[in-house]
Symmetry: C2
Subunit: 161 residues, 2 copies
DNA sequence: GTGTAAGTTAAACCTCGCTTGAGGTCAAGA
DNA sequence: TCTTGACCTCAAGCGAGGTTTAACTTACAC
């Protein structure tokens, strides 16, 4: 049937919106793979575009590339993933997205209630005790997940006028 | 008036959940400030706790420390911020939070619709466009985030080179 | 008055998610 | 054939958001 047209790194870059350097980086992490021409240039299968789309999508939601790699590792080796393969994988992110939405909504509502009281105090303000640390949005904020629970408990219990 | 009890960096760290190193870092960025003892040790006003709470909260939502600094700069210099000061500041984050929630919801819903077909093309299903017509529509799924200028620039650069 | 926990600085180091640069090769059109 | 642009590798750099380390000094309880 149709010729299996391989894509150059530049083509994948243009179509996926990820720079060539980014694609090479993904490859070093094992997130994508490529064939090589006799001249050592990368050639990508078309399914790579879907794979990259998935990586970008998950990345935007705040997942680390390592987590994404773990998820991608569940796709079958040695054959082109079917729609069902992708469906299962997509579905697996759903609860995570829901959790993230819920967390940020809670944050907004809490902030809303703080507008009512003007407090932002550590004693009363729910903001100081986010129920869902995993709901952090950026790489930066995630560093704080290492905070010990005792820290949070102590902070919550202290007066902070 | 009650004695104005100043707090050591350790106390602020314990109560806020931010490590001393983090507090010093915030200070270098101008997000918080401190008095010094004759022995050069930092002493914080109690309002610093609120300030730090605000910084952490905003940071969790994905704002950069620079953006947070800009917001904090609107607080009055030279006097303890009142509840009203804080209220105004909190209110100013509301649209931002709403926007973030909307973005993630959209991501989730798009992903959801893809579960139906398993494509993950998000904009135009590749499975339904065997000729990869989606490729002609420009860089991939990035539109979901609202196409930041840097993304657009990078994509454009790719096309140009 | 002394031991030690807590504080100080500057600078180096860390993770993440890439980009940039140097130095060189490959592929395709005029 | 020549030229040009796209590609290669490897190493270093960036920016955000901090932490760690080294080499001290201070504060305070006993």
């Amino acid at each position: 049937m149709a010729i299996e047209r391989y894509l150059t790194i530049g083509e994948v870059a243009r179509r996926s919106g990820v720079a060539p350097s980014g694609l090479r980086y993904y490859e070093t992490l094992g997130l994508i793979s490529s064939e090589r021409t006799t001249g050592n240039q990368r050639r990508y299968e078309r399914t790579t575009l879907r794979r990259v789309a998935f990586i970008r999508t998950a990345s935007r939601v705040g997942l680390t590339l390592e987590e994404i790699g773990d998820a991608l590792a569940t796709l079958p080796e040695g054959r082109t993933p079917t729609a069902d393969d992708w469906t299962g994988l997509s579905r697996s992110w759903r609860p995570l997205l829901d959790a993230r939405i819920a967390a940020i909504e809670r944050l907004r509502d809490d902030l809303d209630s703080c507008i009512g009281c003007g407090c932002l105090s550590l004693e009363r303000c729910v903001l100081q005790n986010p129920g869902d640390r995993a709901a952090t949005l950026g790489p930066g904020a995630r560093y704080l997940e290492g905070d010990s629970p005792s820290d949070a408990a102590r902070a919550a219990g202290q007066d902070a006028t």
